[in-house]
Structures are given as C-alpha cells and as structure tokens.
C-alpha cells in the first residue's frame, strides 16, 4: 500500500468525518485522487465502515457490555468459522474474535441490562452445538475504546506566546 493510502487511513481512523477536500489538502493530493483512493479502500474492504464512537455511559440510555469467553469444538473442514458465524450474526454481538490460548472465541455483547445479556448467553450461545462452555464477564467501566480515552482532559495548557 502506498504511504498516501496509509495516511488516508490514519486520518480516517481518527476522524471518519474528515472530508475528501480536507484530506486532499492535508496530503497534497487532488480531491479526485482522494476519492479514488477511498473508493479503492472500500472496495478492497480495507475500510469496512465509518462508525461513531459513543460513550453510552454519558447518555441517558442504559446499556451493559459483557465479554464472553467461549470454548467451542471446531467442525471438520470448517474450523471455527462456521460456529463463529452462527454467533456473530446476532445483532446483540458487537464483536467476535478467534483467540489463541485457553479459550477459543471472544464475544462482546451489548444489552439493555445484565439480565438481558445473561439470558442471551444462556438461551442463544450456550445451547449452540459445538459450544463447550461460556464464561461471562461484565464490563464495569470503559476507560478507553478504539484508542480514545473517554475522560481525557484535552485542555491546552501551553503558554499562548513563546518565541
């Protein structure tokens, strides 16, 4: 990948709302070049979405997040992919990773409350064929997500004038 492509990703990763005009200016490219580059990155599934990072704790909406450790039996010919798909298709599943180590899948679940999440695990995940065991950990506080510190004091305390 060209260094310009990497820089486009670097910019968009920090700010998905950066406009093509702004990016063009930052990277000394034409607007058309930036548009083409972003289109290519989207087609190649390098860019797979433009999400907003939300700290739900600061909103009125009640949500809980849980991290579920799953041990599963891989299926012949399909490894973990098939069972993973049956899990990640649920909209409640925010993330799903295949892991090395003492368990196999990490599943991040969001729900309205602990009961809802616990029921989802008990009724949907645990009974799945191939799931050997589950272990549910509720998130108590999010300090940092996707590289963003939630309670960062971004105050500029520099001297306003310095030669």
């Amino acid at each position: 990948m060209s260094s310009k492509m990497e820089e486009i990703l670097e910019i968009l990763e920090k700010n998905a709302r950066a406009s093509v005009e702004e990016i063009a200016l930052m990277l000394d490219m034409s607007v058309e070049e930036v548009q083409a580059a972003i289109r290519k990155l989207e087609e190649d599934k390098v860019i797979v979405g433009y999400n907003t990072l939300i700290n739900w704790d600061n909103s009125n909406k009640e949500t809980v997040t849980a991290l579920i450790e799953l041990r599963v039996t891989p299926q012949r010919g399909q490894g973990f992919d098939k069972i993973a798909e049956r899990i990640y298709r649920y909209p409640q599943v925010k993330a799903c990773y295949l892991m090395s180590g003492s368990f196999d899948l990490t599943v991040i679940i969001e729900g309205k409350n602990m009961k809802e999440v616990a029921l989802f695990v008990a009724e949907k995940l645990a009974p799945l064929e191939g799931v050997v065991s589950t272990s549910t950990h509720f998130v108590l506080k999010k300090y940092k997500n996707d590289g963003v510190i939630f309670e960062e004091n971004g105050k500029d305390d520099r001297e306003a004038l310095r030669l």
Partner: protein, 389 residues
C-alpha cells in the same frame, strides 16, 4: 543606591521583549486562538512520562554526573550517529543540558567575549542574540531573504566574516521561518568555513521535523566536524518542552569547556528528565514519526490557508512554523498582529520579534488542532479581505 545602575550594562540595556503587550491583550480575551505557541501541542508520549514517574518511584532523585548519566550519553551518541551520521565519544564529547537553550548559552559563554563577533542569521530564535550580548561579544546579523527561501547563502556568510569573528550560528531548520538548508548550499557554507578559525554552533533542535527528505547535519561534514558544536534536544521531536532537556556534541576540547560552565551554573540536568529522555531514545521512534506526519498535514493546511487569504507564503520545510508575508496589506508586522488579535482573536507573532529583517512577516504555529487551524484560517481570511488595500 540606584539599583538600576547596579545592573551591568549588557543586561540593563537589553531591550524588553516586544511581545509583552500581546500577553496583556490576550489576558482580557476569551476564546482566542493562539498560533503564537512555540512548542508541540502533543503531550509527551506516555512511555516517556511513565519512565519519568518510575524513576521517581525508585527514588532516583539525586544528582547525576555533571555532563549527564553515561548511559544516556551513550544512547545520544548512538542516536546522533544513526540519524546524522557523525560519531561522538560519549565520555568526552557530549554534555546533557537543561534544554537546547542552555547549550546555546554555555557554548557562547565558552567561546565569545568582548571584542569578538558572533554571526547570527536572522530572522531566528531570540536567544542567540541575547546570549551573545550577555557575553559582551558583538552580534553580527545576516539578513536572510524570502527570495532565497530564508536559506543562508555562502556569499552572505563570506561577507559577514571578519578577523574578529569567533562564532557562526547556523539555525536550521529555522524558527521562525521554517526554512531548511539544501545540501548544495550546505556544501558551499562548509567550504567557506573549513579553513577559518571560527567555531560553528549548529542548532538543530528541529532536525526531526523536516518534510522534504532527510535532515543533513552540518556536523556530518568531516572538514568542519571538529569546529562544530551540534546542539539538539528532546523538546520538539519528542514533545518534551517542559522537561527541559537537550544536549551538545562536539570535539572534547569544546565540550570540556562548556562542561566547566555547566558544572558551576547548573551542576547537572534534572535526573528525572534524563531518565525520561533515555526512554525517549529507547522506544519512541514510531511516535515521533506519527507526530511528524501529523505536523506535515497541518503544515499544508496552513500554507494553503494563508495563500487562499491572498498572502504570499514561502513553503516552509521544517519546524512547525509558517512565515507568510503581510506586506500586501500595507500594515507593519506589529500592526497586523495587534489588529488581528483585537478584531479576530487570533494570536500570531510579528516577524520583528525575531530580528528587524522580520518586518513584513508574521509567524504562525501549526502545532495546533485541525479545528483550531481551520477556524484561525477562516478568521485570517476574513481579516485580510477586510483590510486589503
């Protein structure tokens, strides 16, 4: 007793800084955007801060040896060799200073005195002239020109050199212009200086912040290596301004002389900062490069912003400053900056703060967020169109 008369003339006669009034104006103002800052907006990378904290936890709160911990000097030696292709013996040829500023001061104090001349290209950092005058030596200013892209031309240097020249200061990449030297000009400067009995102080504090290829250190030319004091530090590249830590490298005779002053005036650089600096050299290359890419993007945004506002703006390839010409507005630098602050609440620095030849220019820093830069450029655009002659 008149206390004023007790102050020695070189200090008493030093004119007060012309920027005082901007602080006063700024204090009465809310939501002003400052492009007058002279330091990174990034906070020191965490690994460095953590190393400083850890050193305190471990109780490393004592003096180090005068020139700095030998481990840190070894690291600096390796870093300078790798980055700038010049070798220094960590035992005798490196002194760790309280910021690059101290290095400038003790170098000048070690070298220059009454009757000596110190060549200073301007516009440039104010301390060169100030520290020179405190030694009693005479500053000889070379006026860098926009048409030369604010580079020092060998002919200019040739003309400024006299029998009394003791020191030549080479301030590149440059604050406030953002100018960098080109290899072909550097070569000619080296040819001018190599057979002269002068010492070169090359202040390369912005060396890592260059945007047009690799920085070439003056010290890397073997012909002048032994007569060059290479000054660098951690403030700009590693975003460590408040830690106050820098260093000077040079022939052992020069560094030993500087270390004599350093040991009486300073004793040693802050120990915590030395531990932090050691970690900076250890593990922070990627973070430095990420910051450089970020500065470069902001640089382009700001240069375009000034040009769109109708001001001619030389393209700076180093540091984090833009130095546009405001001559087309018919205002002096000082008028421009004061009006801009009062009318649009954007603070910039008049070019004259960096030498008389800075008249007609202003310095703006792009070590700031995109949002602030974009908003400042909108205001400057509005301001310039309103005042266009």
């Amino acid at each position: 007793m008149n206390l004023q008369e007790m102050i020695k003339p070189t200090v008493r006669n030093m004119p007060p800084s012309g920027i005082r009034k901007y602080f006063d104006l700024l204090n009465e103002m809310k939501d002003a955007i400052s492009l007058g800052v002279g330091e990174p907006d990034f906070v020191t990378p965490w690994a460095i801060r953590e190393a400083g904290i850890y050193s305190l936890e471990k109780g490393h709160t004592h003096y180090s040896s005068n020139p700095g911990f030998i481990e840190l000097r070894r690291q600096i030696s390796r870093y300078v060799a790798r980055k700038y292709n010049v070798e220094y013996d960590p035992k005798t040829e490196i002194v760790v200073t309280v910021g690059a500023s101290e290095a400038i001061d003790i170098a000048l104090r070690a070298l220059a005195g009454p009757g000596d001349e110190v060549i200073i290209p301007e516009p440039s950092f104010v301390a060169y002239k100030g520290c020179t005058m405190f030694t009693g030596a005479t500053p000889v200013v070379i006026e860098l020109k926009e048409e030369d892209e604010f580079r020092l031309k060998p002919e200019q240097l040739e003309k400024a050199l006299t029998e009394r020249t003791r020191v030549v200061i080479l301030p590149f990449p440059n604050n406030p212009t953002g100018a960098v030297m080109r290899a072909e000009d550097q070569r000619k400067i080296v040819d001018v200086l190599k057979d002269r009995d002068v010492i070169i102080i090359s202040d390369e504090i912005y060396a890592e912040l260059t945007y047009s290829g690799k920085h070439i250190s003056f010290a890397s030319y073997p012909e002048i290596r032994d007569k060059t004091i290479l000054i660098n530090g951690f403030s700009k590249a590693f975003a460590m301004t408040g830690w106050r830590i820098g260093y000077a490298c040079g022939h052992h005779v020069l560094i030993e002389a500087m270390n004599k002053i350093h040991q009486y005036a300073i004793m040693c650089s802050p120990t915590t900062a030395q531990y932090a600096a050691s970690e900076a050299l250890n593990s922070c290359e990627d973070e430095v490069q990420a910051m450089v890419r970020e500065y470069n993007r902001r640089r382009r945004v700001m240069v375009k912003g000034f040009r769109d506002a109708g001001l001619s703006c030389f393209e700076p390839m180093g540091a984090f400053y833009v130095f546009p010409s405001i001559k087309s507005t018919g205002m002096t630098s000082d008028e421009f900056c004061e009006k801009l602050l009062m009318e649009e609440k954007v603070l910039t620095v008049p070019g004259t703060a960096f030498g008389a030849c800075g008249e007609g220019y202003i310095r703006a820093t792009y070590a700031n967020s995109y949002e602030n830069i974009a908003e400042a450029m909108r205001r400057i655009n509005r301001f310039v169109s309103r005042h266009r002659k």
